[in-house]
C-alpha cells in the first residue's frame, strides 16, 4: 500500500479524494442543491447498497471461475451453466423441504459433484490444451443449457426467502431530515445484507485458506508452476479435482443466492458467465482479491448506471473493462 503511494502519488491522491467524496455522499445529509441536481439520497443509497450486494453475488460466481482458471488455465465457459444448475437444485430443494439453508448445502454438493465429473471425465484427458478445453466448455454449456431448458422449461423461478429474513431492516444511515427535524433512516432488505455478509465471510475464509494453510500453499504453488509442483511429489490431479469441485460448488451456491435475489430462467447462465468474465478481466485473472475488487466495481457500476444513466448501464460496465484493458491489460490486481 505504502509502496503504491510512493510510486504513484498523484493516483493515490485521486483515490483518497474519491474515497472521501464517496464517504461524504454516503454519510452526510445532502444539501438541497445536490438533491435537486442528482435526485434523492435514498435512491443513491439504495443503488449503492444494491451494487455492493450484487457485487457480493458476482464475487461468489467469479471467485470459483478465477480459482479454476488460476490453477488449471481452464477458462470454464460452462461456469454460468453450473450457476444456473445450482439455482435450479436450490429451488427444487427449498420448495420440497422448505429449508433455505439446506438448499445451499445440497446445491453446493451437487454442483461440486458435477465439477468433479467434468474434471475427471473431460478435462483430465486434455490437460495442457487450453484452447481445446475452452472449446469443450462451450459445447458443454450449450448441452447443459438445453438439458436444463428441457427439464425446467422456460419459466421464471424464485427461491423462497425464509421468514426470518423477510422484511427490511433500518440502517443507521440518514437519507433525509424531515421538516420537523426528525431524521429518516435507510431501510434495506435484510436478506440482501445477510447474503452479502455471507459472501464476505466466504471471501475472507478463502483468502485465509489460500494464504495460511497447507492446501492453500499447494494451490498457490500450482498457480505459479504446476509442473514443478507435480515434480515435488504433490498429487496434483487430486488438487485439480478438489479445486474444480470447490469452484463449481461456489457457482452452485451463487445460483441459490441469485435465485433468492433475482430469479432463475434460461439465459441467466450467459448473463452470469459474462459478468464473471468482465469481473475477472477487470480484477485480474486468477486472483481472489482481484475478483473481489472487480465484483465490487462491476456491481456498483451496473446499479449506479441503471439508476443514473439507464440506457447505457451495460455500456458503462463495458467501458470499465476497456479502460482496464487499455491501462493494465493483466487486470487491476494481477501480479504479473
Amino acid at each position: 500500500m505504502s509502496r503504491f503511494v510512493e510510486r504513484h502519488p498523484a493516483w493515490a491522491l485521486i483515490a483518497i479524494i474519491a474515497i472521501a467524496v464517496a464517504l461524504w455522499l454516503i454519510f452526510a445529509v445532502w444539501p438541497p442543491g445536490l438533491e435537486e441536481a442528482i435526485g434523492r439520497k435514498r435512491v443513491f443509497l439504495n443503488a449503492v447498497f444494491n451494487g455492493i450486494t450484487l457485487g457480493g453475488l458476482y464475487f461468489l460466481v467469479a471467485s470459483g471461475f478465477t480459482l479454476i482458471f488460476g490453477l488449471m488455465r481452464n477458462v470454464n465457459l460452462a461456469h454460468g451453466s453450473l450457476y444456473l444448475f445450482g439455482g435450479y437444485v436450490g429451488y427444487a430443494i427449498s420448495t420440497a423441504t422448505g429449508s433455505w439453508l439446506l438448499s445451499f448445502i445440497v446445491a453446493f454438493i451437487l454442483t461440486a459433484l458435477v465439477g468433479v465429473l467434468l474434471q475427471v471425465i473431460v478435462f483430465h484427458r486434455m490437460e495442457g490444451q487450453d484452447l481445446r478445453q475452452t472449446m469443450v466448455t462451450i459445447g458443454l454449456s450449450i448441452v447443459f443449457a438445453d438439458l436444463m431448458l428441457w427439464a425446467c422449461g422456460g419459466d421464471f423461478y424464485q427461491v423462497q426467502t425464509p421468514n426470518w429474513l423477510i422484511g427490511p431492516v433500518e440502517l443507521p444511515l440518514i437519507t433525509a431530515v424531515k421538516s420537523s427535524g426528525e431524521p429518516v433512516y435507510l431501510r434495506y432488505p435484510m436478506v440482501r445484507l445477510v447474503i452479502f455478509a455471507a459472501s464476505v465471510v466466504i471471501g475472507v475464509s478463502m483468502w485465509l485458506a489460500l494464504n495460511r494453510t497447507r492446501i492453500g500453499m499447494i494451490i498457490r504453488a500450482g498457480v505459479d508452476d504446476r509442473d514443478i509442483l507435480a515434480a515435488t511429489g504433490v498429487r496434483i490431479q487430486l488438487v485439480f479435482v478438489a479445486v474444480f469441485a470447490f469452484g463449481a460448488g461456489l457457482a452452485g451456491i451463487a445460483g441459490v443466492v441469485g435465485g433468492t435475489f433475482q430469479s432463475l430462467s434460461p439465459g441467466e447462465d450467459i448473463r452470469f458467465l459474462l459478468a464473471s468474465l468482465v469481473v475477472v478481466i477487470v480484477g485480474g485473472m486468477g486472483s481472489i482479491p482481484g475478483a473481489a475488487l472487480g465484483a465490487l466495481i462491476i456491481g456498483l457500476a451496473e446499479q449506479l448506471g441503471s439508476v443514473y444513466i439507464p440506457t447505457y448501464a451495460i455500456v458503462v460496465t463495458f467501458l470499465i473493462m476497456v479502460l482496464v484493458l487499455a491501462i493494465r491489460p493483466q487486470g487491476l490486481l494481477a501480479r504479473r
Binding site: 481445446r132 459445447g139 438445453d146 463495458f318 473493462m321
Partner: protein, 360 residues
C-alpha cells in the same frame, strides 16, 4: 508460454498439410471444379426454398465463419465477435439505408449505405481487435465474447439508433438495371459471388507475404518480433481484414432477412459461428462453408428428423452441442480433419494390400 504453445497445437496440421507451392491449389483438383459447377448451376436444380434458406444462408454463415477461420487458423486468435461485426454492419445498412422504421433510417441509397456500413463495421472490428491483441490465447476468447455480449445488450437497450429489442424491420433491398436483386435467383448469385470473392481472397492472402508473416506470428510471436516484424500490427491488420469479410456477410444477411434485431447478434449466435468454423475445420478456407452447410441442414431438418425418431423436436441445440463436443473430442480439425484421416487410412490400407499382393 503455455498459451502460445496451445495455440500452435490447435493449428499444427495446417503446417503439415499445406503445400508450399505458390499456385492455386483448386486448379488441379477435380472435386473443386465439380463443386464450383454445381454451385453455379444450382438455381436449375434447387427450388426457391432450398436456394435461399439452405444454400444462400449456408454461404452467408460460411462467410462469417470464414472470417473467424482466417483469424483462428492463420492468426491463432479465436475471436467470438465476428458475428457482432457482421451484425453491426447489418444494423448500419438498416440505419443509413431505407427501412420501415423511417424515424431511424436515414434513407440513403444502397450504394452509399453499403460502403458506409462496410467502413464503419471494419473500423469497429479493427478497434475491437486492437483491444483484443493486448491479450493472447484464451484471453482473446473471453474479451471478444465480452465485446459481443456488450453489443447485444447495448442494441437491446438503445432505442435511438438500434431501436431496442424490436430491431429494424422491412429493410429495403437494391433494385437496379431492372433487376430485383433480392429475388431468389439474382440474390443467390450475389451471395455466391461474394462468397467466392472472400474465399479466394483468404486463400490468396494466406500465401501472400502478409499471410505468411501472420502465420509466423501465430507460430512464434517472439521470434517474429526478433526478426523485425511488428507482431501487433500484423494481428490488428488481420482483424481489419477479417472484419471486412464479416461486414460483407452482415450486409448480405440483412438483405436476406430484410430485418435485423438484437436476437441476431445474441451471444448464442456468436458462439454458433465458432461452432460452424470448428466443426468445419479451421485450417482451410473451405472448412467454414462445410461447417455452415452441416449447421444449416441440422437447423432446418433436425426438427422433422427428431420427431420422426419419436423424440422431442425442440432438442435441436442439444444435437448441435453434442455434435460439436464430439468433433472437438475426436478431431482437432473438424470434419476436414476426419475426412483427411479417413482418406489417409484408406490410402495406407491400399498400400498395404498392394504390397501384400506384390509379395504373394
Amino acid at each position: 508460454m503455455s498459451l502460445a504453445h496451445d495455440a500452435r497445437v490447435a493449428v499444427r496440421p495446417a503446417a503439415v498439410t499445406q503445400r508450399p507451392a505458390r499456385t492455386w491449389p483448386e486448379i488441379n483438383n477435380p472435386a473443386a471444379w465439380i463443386v464450383a459447377v454445381i454451385l453455379v448451376v444450382m438455381p436449375l436444380i434447387a427450388s426457391g426454398f432450398f436456394l435461399i434458406e439452405i444454400f444462400a444462408t449456408t454461404l452467408i454463415l460460411g462467410i462469417m465463419a470464414l472470417s473467424l477461420m482466417f483469424l483462428a487458423g492463420y492468426g491463432g486468435m479465436v475471436s467470438l465477435m465476428q458475428l457482432t461485426i457482421a451484425g453491426f454492419s447489418a444494423y448500419m445498412v438498416a440505419v443509413f439505408g431505407i427501412s420501415g422504421n423511417a424515424n431511424i433510417s436515414l434513407g440513403w441509397p444502397w450504394w452509399l449505405a453499403v460502403p458506409m456500413a462496410l467502413a464503419l463495421a471494419t473500423a469497429f472490428g479493427t478497434l475491437g481487435g486492437a483491444l483484443a491483441v493486448r491479450t493472447e490465447g484464451i484471453y482473446t476468447i473471453m474479451i471478444t465474447l465480452a465485446i459481443g455480449a456488450a453489443f447485444y445488450y447495448f442494441t437491446n437497450q438503445n432505442w435511438a439508433i438500434f431501436n431496442g429489442h424490436t430491431g429494424i424491420n422491412t429493410v429495403a433491398t437494391p433494385h437496379f438495371w431492372g433487376v430485383n436483386w433480392r429475388a431468389d435467383i439474382p440474390f443467390y448469385y450475389v451471395v455466391l459471388a461474394v462468397a467466392a470473392l472472400c474465399y479466394f481472397a483468404v486463400e490468396y492472402i494466406s500465401r501472400a507475404p502478409f499471410g505468411l508473416a501472420l502465420q509466423g506470428v501465430r507460430d512464434n510471436p517472439r521470434r517474429m518480433a526478433a526478426l523485425g516484424f511488428n507482431v501487433n500490427a500484423h494481428r490488428v491488420a488481420a482483424y481489419a481484414f477479417a472484419s471486412f469479410i464479416a461486414a460483407l456477410a452482415g450486409v448480405l444477411q440483412v438483405w436476406n432477412y430484410r430485418q435485423i434485431s438484437p436476437g441476431s447478434v445474441s451471444v448464442g449466435a456468436c458462439i454458433d459461428v465458432l461452432i460452424i468454423a470448428v466443426v468445419g475445420g479451421i485450417t482451410r478456407p473451405i472448412g467454414p462453408f462445410i461447417g455452415a452447410l452441416i449447421f444449416v441442414l441440422l437447423r432446418t431438418f433436425a426438427l422433422d428428423f427428431l420427431v420422426r425418431l419419436g423424440l422431442d423436436g425442440n432438442r435441436f441445440r442439444l444435437l448441435i452441442g453434442l455434435g460439436f463436443l464430439a468433433i472437438v473430442f475426436w478431431s482437432s480439425d473438424g470434419v476436414i480433419g476426419l475426412w483427411q484421416r479417413w482418406r489417409q487410412s484408406q490410402r495406407s490400407r491400399d498400400d498395404r494390400q498392394g504390397g501384400g499382393r506384390g509379395h504373394g
